[in-house]
């Protein structure tokens, strides 16, 4: 298990201090704030507000403003946090407001000890803290109201932002209590821990589909994203990025033609000591249109660097070479002895599974605005990892991270792309070079070719079945770039089972599944060539997006080889023995729910149609949302696959906002389908070949299948929903294609050509 999940103690707040590659971060920020004209979001609230916790304040008008330390990229997490606070506080939903936190460490995630949004962790890891914050406010308000009314606090009822005393029929609104100034109780960490929270049967807000608080802003154009920031005196930067994804250097820049562009100010060649970027130049001008013209007019001579000849083929060849070496990589799982078991197995299956490079391509292209004001560097940008991004911005500026203030904005899509901080570098260095605030906006071409992409992966899986058709051994090698290692933060790496040093579990999560297999090895192998040539990132669902593609395809192959129904084989493997007890049963139940909802096996399908199943414990063993999918496809003789229906069931324990969960699960499932069928990026001559939505083609409305979502809320702790459904869809579709026409495709995306070729084989 990854350390970031295991250490639930406050000590992990150290994370941000000891681990950054660009210097110590964050904890000194308070110094930076003192008397330095920080904007109003960071200023102390007006004294009349009641602020029982860093997470929210109640104004004298009764409005409750929750400060969300999580990046809101469409998962409505700010609204979710407000909903959890409102439940225990007893506030009326119409009184709730949200704002986005700065990078002040006081807004760090209570479990992770940093400001990072990902992993579908937010609800799970903040549920308790937000509940306690809400309850603390209710207790303080109640005691103040009791004093004002002259009645015992124990006789008061709190509901809809009102505190009433049924016996005397007295009541006070939250606004009145705050105005009275009597709500002053403070809570220590121990006090908070001692609060008895509501039991689920007492919930009146959790489990209700209240309207998301950010939606009204997003239908009238007033929601402010990073790209919408306007500062007085601001100028614009357009990027020129080299033809090679990583490793190029600028030999010379000729700006003679650019100087003729009206409004052109300067061409700035980045000197990026954080090594986030290589060979980037920013053209700065008075408008973005002029900056783009100037960028186009620059004549830049590059040295392509060490990766200039590499292609997707070379990365794959290297992956296969590494996998073939017996001493490659480190073990993530090492149970029993698969190699011995293969020797005595009745049947051994072996298969290679691949995934191509994938691009995040959020609709809002990367951007950042940087402004030096006194000693403080202000950054305005929608970002998923303020703690690290602030440190990168500081590294680009050559200042201490404590002098960086990150202003969070709504994110026009994140999907993991905005965990990275590359956009800070050009904005900071351009602002420094021209002495003015600079907004740098990537073109879509910059955004796609310089993505921190989902890496190309190569997996080899070998399975051994005994004479009774029982799966007795599985060895699984996963070769990829290591996106999380690139962060340089030791706590996000995991120790290897064979003690060969830390490994990037975000490349193998999911392979430690809940099936009972007595002999099971998983090896995490870093593809150094891919790591250097295509600096990779965390793309929505990360490793389980490829590990389950391999595992869930192989389980299907085993079912076929042993003459079993693929769904029932899964049920058999999810026997809940040993370490799998609990999770396996929940996953089995979820699979059965999906099967029931889809009518799996209940009717004969027309020729060329088929159903396939898959089930996953994404994202990690410790944070799983149990998710299963039945895909119903039609395959044309040309090999073209049409998805008729995706049926997804997911066990999330407790649902805060059912409608919001359905939206996330549906979006995630469609992402899974898009990655399975439509999205493919390729490397050639060291550069990403796809530059816009004509060559990189996510799912459009005309490709939308029917999607049925069944959310199981069984009272267990709340788990995440942003990603898990991504991971279950590709194998379900692949298995459905096999069920339909007997074609086994082992590479993503599943193309008509590959299906047709497999049909013939």
């Amino acid at each position: 298990m990854n350390k970031h999940v295991k250490n639930l103690t406050p000590e992990t707040t150290d994370l941000s201090r000891r681990s950054f590659m660009v210097g110590t971060a964050a904890t000194g920020l308070v110094l930076g704030y003192a008397g330095s004209g920080i904007d109003q979001v960071l200023a102390a609230p007006a004294p009349a507000n009641f602020e029982p916790s860093v997470w929210y304040a109640i104004a004298p008008d009764g409005l409750v403003t929750v400060t969300c330390g999580k990046a809101d990229m469409g998962q409505h997490v700010a609204s979710t946090m407000a909903q959890i606070v409102a439940e225990e506080l007893g506030a009326n939903w119409k009184d709730m407001r949200v704002q986005l936190a700065s990078n002040d460490p006081k807004f760090n995630d209570p479990v992770l000890g940093a400001q990072i949004t990902g992993g579908s962790w937010s609800t799970m890891m903040n549920f308790d803290a937000m509940s306690r914050a809400g309850a603390a406010g209710r207790i303080a308000l109640t005691e103040a109201a009791a004093a004002s009314m002259g009645v015992p606090a124990g006789e008061l009822v709190v509901r809809d932002s009102k505190i009433s005393h049924p016996k005397s029929k007295k009541s006070m609104s939250f606004a009145e209590v705050v105005k009275s100034g009597k709500a002053t109780k403070t809570f220590t960490a121990d006090d908070l821990k001692a609060i008895k929270l509501k039991s689920p049967d007492q919930y009146t807000m959790i489990g209700v589909s209240v309207p998301q608080l950010d939606i009204p802003l997003k239908v009238n154009g007033t929601a402010k994203y990073g790209i919408d920031v306007m500062l007085p005196g601001m100028v614009y930067g357009a990027l020129v990025t080299p033809p090679v994804r990583y490793g190029a250097t600028v030999k010379s820049v000729d700006d003679a033609a650019a100087k003729k562009v009206p409004g052109f100010i300067k061409a700035v060649t980045l000197d990026d000591k954080t090594t986030t970027t290589t060979g980037w130049v920013v053209a700065v001008a008075n408008t973005y249109a002029n900056a783009k013209k100037a960028a186009a007019a620059l004549k830049i001579d590059y040295d392509g660097g060490p990766n200039a000849k590499l292609s997707s083929e070379s990365l794959l060849t290297e992956a296969k070479r590494l996998q073939g070496l017996s001493d490659s990589g480190q073990f993530f799982v090492k149970d029993g002895d698969p190699n011995a078991a293969f020797g005595t197995a009745a049947k051994v299956l072996e298969a290679e599974y691949t995934t191509n490079i994938n691009i995040h391509a959020p609709m809002e292209p990367m951007n950042a605005t940087a402004e030096f004001k006194g000693d403080i560097l202000h950054i305005y940008s929608g970002n998923q990892f303020a703690t690290r991004s602030g440190a990168i911005a500081a590294g680009a500026a050559g200042i201490d991270p404590k002098f960086v203030v990150m202003h969070q904005m709504w994110l026009g899509g994140g999907f993991g792309r905005r965990l990275d901080a590359d956009m800070m570098v050009p904005a900071v260095q351009a602002a420094k070079a021209v002495g003015k605030p600079v907004k740098v906006i990537y073109t879509r071409e910059n955004d796609m070719t310089m993505d921190f992409s989902r890496p190309l992966t190569y997996q080899k899986v070998k399975a051994g079945v005994d004479g009774d058709g029982k799966l007795v051994a599985l060895s699984h090698d996963v070769v990829s770039a290591w996106p999380t290692q690139r962060w340089g933060i030791p706590d996000f790496l995991s120790p290897s089972v064979d003690k060969k040093g830390p490994l990037d579990a975000f490349t193998v999560n999911g392979s430690d599944f809940f099936y009972t297999v007595p002999n099971h090895y998983v090896r995490a192998i870093k593809n150094e060539m891919a790591h250097n040539a295509t600096p990779s990132g965390q793309l929505r669902s990360v490793a389980p997006g490829w590990t389950f593609w391999a595992v869930e395809s192989m389980v299907d192959e085993i079912a076929h080889a042993t003459g079993k129904d693929p769904a029932l084989l899964r049920v058999e493997l999810l026997d809940g023995k040993g370490k799998n007890d609990g999770g396996a049963q929940r996953l089995r139940n979820t699979l059965l729910a999906a099967m029931g909802l889809a009518g799996y096996g209940t009717k004969k399908l027309p020729k060329g149609e088929g159903m396939g199943v898959a089930c996953v414990s994404s994202q990690e063993r410790a944070t799983a949302s149990w998710t299963a999918c039945v895909a119903h496809v039609a395959v044309a003789p040309s090999g073209e696959v049409t998805v008729k229906k995706l049926t997804v069931a997911t066990d999330v324990g407790t649902q805060v906002n059912p409608d919001g969960i359905r939206a996330q699960v549906e979006g995630a499932a469609l992402w899974g389908m898009s990655l399975a069928l439509f999205e493919k990026a390729t490397l050639k001559d060291g550069g990403i070949e796809q530059t816009n939505f004509d060559s990189y083609t996510p799912l459009r409305m005309s490709q939308l299948p029917e999607v049925a979502v069944n959310v199981i809320a069984n009272g267990e702790k709340a788990t995440g929903v942003g990603e898990p459904a991504v991971t279950v869809v590709a194998p379900a579709i692949g298995n459905a294609v096999f069920n339909a026409v007997g074609a086994r495709v082992r590479g993503l995306p599943i193309t008509a050509e590959a299906v047709k070729a497999a049909m013939k084989a």
């Binding site: 802003l217 959020p362 026009g412 979006g667």
Partner: protein, 163 residues
């Protein structure tokens, strides 16, 4: 200095004739509801109306917009209460929300001519607008809801006129 008629107001702007309308709207007029997505007419995030037709403002030059009526998301209705905007809230359509101004403007052009579209007509009209959060099914539902609301309103309106 070119004059633009935008959301019912005449505004003078200072930019070269070949400047994409998108950047004039966003930077000079500081109306940031219209979004930049691809710069190539492939995603629809920058959709505005030119004389009532949905166009990609990243592919429309300033010169082409002069003398025409431009409508952006900010001007679609006085208080953000166009039937589509209400339907977008009722169906809880947006996730990240970045593409939604463009989606709404694209849909508004359809409903201004046809308040009873079939699902196929909706898909054909909307297919050029990408939503990376994949909110497509809710977009469809919201368009159908708004269309129905508009039909009801117009029926009620004509009854009123009749009586």
């Amino acid at each position: 200095m070119p004059n633009l008629n935008i959301n019912g107001r005449n505004m003078s702007v200072e930019a070269a004739n070949d400047t994409p309308l998108l950047w004039v709207i966003r930077e000079q007029l500081q109306m940031t509801g219209t979004k930049f997505g691809c710069g190539a007419g492939l995603c629809g995030a920058c959709t505005v109306h030119l004389n009532g037709e949905a166009v990609r403002s990243c592919q429309t030059s300033l010169a082409d917009a002069v003398g025409k009526k431009i409508t952006t998301i900010e001007g679609l209705s006085a208080k953000g209460e166009h039937p589509l905007q209400k339907a977008w809230v009722a169906e809880q359509v947006p996730q990240c929300g970045y593409c939604q101004s463009g989606q709404i403007m694209q849909a508004a052009a359809l409903l201004s001519k046809n308040t009873n579209p079939t699902k196929e007509e909706v898909v054909a009209h909307m297919d050029g607008n990408l939503c990376r959060c994949m909110t497509y099914s809710r977009i469809q539902k919201a368009i159908m809801r708004a269309a129905s609301d508009m039909r009801t309103a117009s029926a009620t309106g004509s009854e009123r006129r009749a009586t």
